[in-house]
């Protein structure tokens, strides 16, 4: 399957004569030293990854790690310094302004942290904005906008104005606006970090539901690990503009690439994320197992009930192939092994 988005060796350097940094020994300097020497800030350093069609790809990092810059480079809201980006097989950096506008109008839409709604337009007209600038007729864009608003559950609020809505509802409008043009790719730049926790969870559910319904490719930026783990099919961890690790939530928690990632995922309850694959052991010769095996994709927590009740170890299988066995001796340490969240 060809990737939806391909990024290869992407650099973004801010500052005077930024183009002189990439490809020289300067590029290897740590961020702080580069800044001291040249006054340039390398926001994105040599980042490469692919996003598959229909995937939810999360880019995670602390503030200042370059994740917002990275996502803006995808549609050249920020012009990258070097590297290749292609979306749907077409090179974005080679596009002329007209083609780039077409890309933004029809293929890739974005949802912003601070919503970016137009306060002088009604909710309906905000959602219809993308269609309006494409030159669609008023009736058509309003019909389409109303449909999209219904999709995010705001059909009652069409004629209100953004400042009359709560933060969560405003972000639904932002989401509807992005969906209205029926793009292939949706970019989310920390869309929920300005919302309070309960509403944030609602919105995460909303995104999951929409993803299931409309099946778009999603690139999701966040600094919130929990959000990354719940939403992401795959997660890219960014530090100081560099990619540290790309993998499934399981990969990150089970096999962190370095101490930075390990530190990040330290407080994640492993039993909630890891599957049995990570803790099973090889069967002893001639060992007898329970009749019913468990799939290797079962999350540890979901297996607790059966494993603790079982008389004998349970086989872990991938289809019909037996991969290993599991019993209480493996399970219990995994249940208690994550660090305390409260200092003693």
């Amino acid at each position: 399957m060809t990737p939806m988005i391909e990024i290869a060796a992407l650099w973004k350097v801010f500052g005077p004569r930024a183009d002189r940094v990439v490809g020289t020994p300067l590029a290897d300097l740590p961020r702080a030293e580069l800044r001291a020497r040249t006054g340039c800030l390398a926001a994105v350093r040599d980042v490469s990854f692919d996003v598959r069609p229909g995937e939810v790809f999360v880019v995670m990092g602390l503030s200042g790690s370059g994740k917002s810059t990275l996502v803006r480079c995808l549609t050249r809201l920020i012009e990258p310094t070097s590297g290749d980006i292609s979306i749907g097989g077409e090179s974005v950096r080679a596009m002329n302004p007209k083609r780039l506008r077409e890309l933004r109008r029809r293929q890739v839409a974005m949802v912003f942290q601070h919503f970016g709604l137009l306060p002088h337009r009604s909710v309906l007209d905000n959602v219809a904005y993308g269609l309006e600038i494409q030159g669609r007729s008023r009736a058509e864009r309003h019909r389409r906008a109303a449909e999209t608003l219904a999709l995010v559950g705001l059909q009652e609020h069409e004629h209100q104005y953004p400042d009359q809505l709560s933060g969560g509802m405003q972000q639904r409008v932002g989401l509807a606006r992005a969906l209205a043009t029926d793009p292939e790719v949706l970019l989310f730049d920390e869309p929920f970090s300005a919302l309070d926790p309960l509403i944030r969870r609602d919105m995460q559910d909303e995104v999951r539901r929409l993803h299931a319904e409309v099946g778009k490719t999603l690139v999701f930026i966040t600094h919130d690990l929990a959000e990354a783990l719940t939403l992401g099919d795959r997660i890219a961890v960014l530090r100081d503009g560099e990619l540290v690790q790309v993998g499934t939530p399981e990969d990150l928690v089970g096999a962190p690439a370095d101490s930075y990632v390990a530190d990040f995922v330290r407080d994640v309850p492993r039993s909630d994320v890891l599957t049995l694959r990570w803790i099973m052991r090889d069967p002893a010769p001639g060992e007898l197992c329970e009749d019913e095996p468990l799939s290797h994709r079962t999350v540890i927590r979901d297996a607790v009930h059966r494993v603790l009740r079982a008389e004998r170890p349970i086989a872990v299988v991938d289809g019909t192939e037996r991969l290993g066995v599991i019993d209480a001796d493996q399970l219990l340490p995994a249940l208690i092994s994550h660090h305390r969240q409260v200092p003693v």
Binding site: T75, L77, R101, E102, L103, R104, R105, R106, A109, M110, F112, H114, F115, G116, L117, L118, P119, H120, R121, S122, Y129, G130, E132, I133, Q134, H159, Y161, D163, G174, R177, T181
Partner: protein, 653 residues
């Protein structure tokens, strides 16, 4: 216990950091002591040099080289007005175009007739700013008829509207460009800076040279005076549009024009409406002054009456100007306030219906044969003159004592010192103290500006004007700071006084001459009084804002340490509001200069009088133009010297 938390930075409204609340003690104290020593040494040196080298302060010659030069320029222009391509294909067409515009506007307004125009203004006020404003407009415009000043008021309105039309046509696009195109903004900024400190008088003479006297020159001078505000505020509105909205619209694929038309302009709407309001107020105050270059309207009545020191005759026109100012201001601020970002569709529909009905009503009423002469007539002239007579009779000792006391005790000595200072010493002192206050760049410009009056041959008049300005600014600051401090400490007083300040700031400067003349007759002191009345309101406002901007946490901390209100004021609030105070001084000086120059009309003499005389007497034209230039130079000198107060003052230490 020692504080380890870094002090919060003191922010000005514009977001400039003026310094931190508590500078590290050691370096700052040393730095302050050093600069104080330098200042003291400089002061001693200046005084010594003055005592050694002072001149006898010869009167300005009436035949200086610069005057002859400007006269010859004038003669050349007069000789070539109909042959030189500059005029044939340039200025003359501009003049014709503006004349056409003025005639069109005039035709439109007078075409409505008295009843029609009153109805139209009422309807506009009601639709744009609510029925109260509509009633105000109705009453105001009827009052023009009652005062017997209908023609003049319409003339003033015509010139104002024409100038505002031009300012908006030129200023709004320029403002957008200034906000969007970096080099345009960077080029315009210093130009606008200088334009805004130029006293109104300075624009007049060059305009008459290029466009002859009359309406076109008046409209263009007014436009030049008002357009910086249009540009500035429009640019501010455009650049204040939140970047998130722009980015979101860009991400959806908007073109540049779509961004401008659908995002930036609609979101800057309220600010642009405010820009139009400011433009109208500035234009009105300038249009009145253009009476000096033969523009028709209410200004004529005032100028004529002032030159005869007949306050009563000027009073009616003054009232009419104030009414016009208030009506125009109410309508446009009301409209700006109502230009909220959105309004429900139903409300929008009713508004169209109301507007349609109002239009029909205006057309109907315009057909009613009522003329302004049908109204009962009333004039304030007699009662006001009686009042002035009564004041002269009963308060003579007080007013005369005040006038003579300040004139003889402060003004005269200061004037003597300044006039007898050799020009090179003055320039050197400006350079030295300027460097100390505002940095060498500003000091260099100030010193060059200080040398100008000597080169123009107007040393004596410039120094006389400067002395008047200095006395006026000291009085202004004393009164302004006192009231400002009071307002900042007493909320109820502040709310009570605010409408007064608002009203004061919308009034054309000419109007302020009237009470001053009523009290003090024609003299230099009259100009000082007018300047003080004119400049105090903005000073009060800036001082109050500066004091109120002191972070409440600091005030709370000082109170919890047991400060008395007096200690709080002197040790915390005033020092921390330094930025606001110095900005107030800078603004005050620029305004005082403008007014002192206008005071040339009522006996302040010096540069202001030279300018006025230049308009009326052909042989004095060169001197008038030179005086206008000297005024501009004085303005630049004072502004640059004091600008450093709030611009380049880095955190001490």
């Amino acid at each position: 216990m020692t504080a380890t938390v870094p002090p919060p930075p003191v922010l000005q409204p514009g977001g400039r950091v003026l310094g931190t609340a508590l500078d590290p003690p050691a370096p700052s104290r040393r730095g302050r002591v050093r600069s104080r020593t330098v200042a003291a040494v400089l002061l001693v040196l200046t005084v010594a040099a003055y005592l050694l080298f002072r001149t006898d302060g010869a009167a300005d010659s009436s035949d200086a080289a610069s005057f002859r030069f400007f006269d010859s320029v004038r003669d050349w222009v007069d000789a070539n007005r109909d042959t030189s391509p500059f005029f044939l294909y340039g200025f003359n067409y501009v003049r014709l175009g503006v004349r056409l515009l003025v005639d069109t506007v005039h035709g439109a307004l007078t075409g409505l007739g008295f009843a029609g125009l009153v109805a139209a203004v009422t309807a506009i006020g009601a639709v744009l700013a609510g029925w109260r404003t509509g009633l105000l407009a109705l009453g105001g415009f009827l009052a023009f008829g009652v005062l017997g000043l209908w023609e003049e008021s319409v003339d003033t309105l015509v010139l104002t509207l024409s100038a505002v039309l031009l300012s908006v046509l030129i200023g709004v696009p320029l403002g957008i460009l200034a906000a969007r195109v970096r080099w345009v903004g960077a080029t315009l900024r210093p130009v606008l800076d200088v334009m805004q400190i130029m006293p109104t008088f300075a624009y007049l003479a060059p305009m008459t040279l290029l466009f002859l006297i009359g309406e076109p020159a008046a409209v263009i001078a007014t436009m030049i005076y008002a357009v910086p505000a249009t540009i500035r505020i429009t640019a501010l509105g455009i650049s204040e549009v939140p970047p998130t909205a722009v980015e979101a619209a860009t991400a959806l694929g908007s073109t540049r024009w779509q961004l401008l038309g659908k995002v930036r302009l609609p979101m800057a709407r309220t600010t642009i409406a405010l820009a139009v309001n400011q433009t109208i107020m500035l234009a009105l105050s300038m249009v009145v002054i253009t009476a000096l270059i033969d523009a028709p309207g209410l200004g004529q009545n005032i100028v004529n009456a002032l030159q005869r020191v007949n306050v009563g005759a000027a009073f009616d026109a003054g009232v009419a100007i104030v009414i016009l100012a208030v009506v125009l201001d109410r309508i446009t601020t009301g409209a700006a306030r109502r230009t909220r970002l959105h309004r429900p569709a139903r409300q929008r529909r009713t508004r169209w219906i109301v507007a349609g009905a109002a239009l029909a009503g205006v057309v109907l009423i315009a057909l009613v044969p009522v003329r302004e002469t049908d109204l009962p007539a009333y004039s304030f002239a007699a009662p006001v003159n009686d009042l002035v007579g009564w004041i002269e009779l009963h308060w003579y000792d007080v007013t005369e004592g005040l006038k003579n006391g300040i004139s003889a005790g402060v003004l005269d000595p200061l004037e003597t010192v300044l006039v007898t200072t050799p020009w090179w010493l003055f320039v050197a002192a400006v350079a030295a103290f300027g460097t100390l206050i505002s940095g060498w760049r500003a000091a260099l410009i100030a010193a060059l500006a200080a040398a100008g009056p000597a080169a123009l041959g107007l040393w004596q008049h410039s120094m006389q004007t400067l002395a008047t300005v200095l006395v006026a600014i000291v009085i202004t600051m004393a009164i302004g700071v006192a009231i400002g401090v009071f307002c900042a400490r007493h909320d109820r007083l502040a709310t009570g006084i605010r409408p007064l300040l608002d009203a004061a700031q919308t009034m054309p400067s000419f109007v302020y001459l009237l009470p001053a003349v009523a009290l003090f007759g024609a003299s230099r002191f009259t100009a000082i009084v007018a300047a003080v009345i004119f400049a105090v309101p903005p000073v009060v406002r800036l001082v109050e804002r500066g004091l109120r901007d002191v972070p409440p946490t600091v005030v709370e901390a000082a109170l919890s340490a047991g400060s008395t209100p007096r200690q709080l004021l002197w040790k915390v609030q005033l020092p921390m509001a330094r930025g606001g105070l110095l900005l107030a001084a800078n603004q005050g000086i620029v305004m005082v200069l403008a007014m002192v120059v206008v005071g040339g009309l009522v006996g302040a003499g010096a540069l202001g009088y030279d300018v006025v005389a230049g308009f009326s007497q052909r042989e004095l034209f060169g001197q008038g133009l030179a005086a206008g230039l000297a005024i501009v130079l004085l303005g630049i000198l004072l502004d640059r010297l004091t600008q450093g107060f709030h611009h380049s003052k880095r955190p001490r230490g």
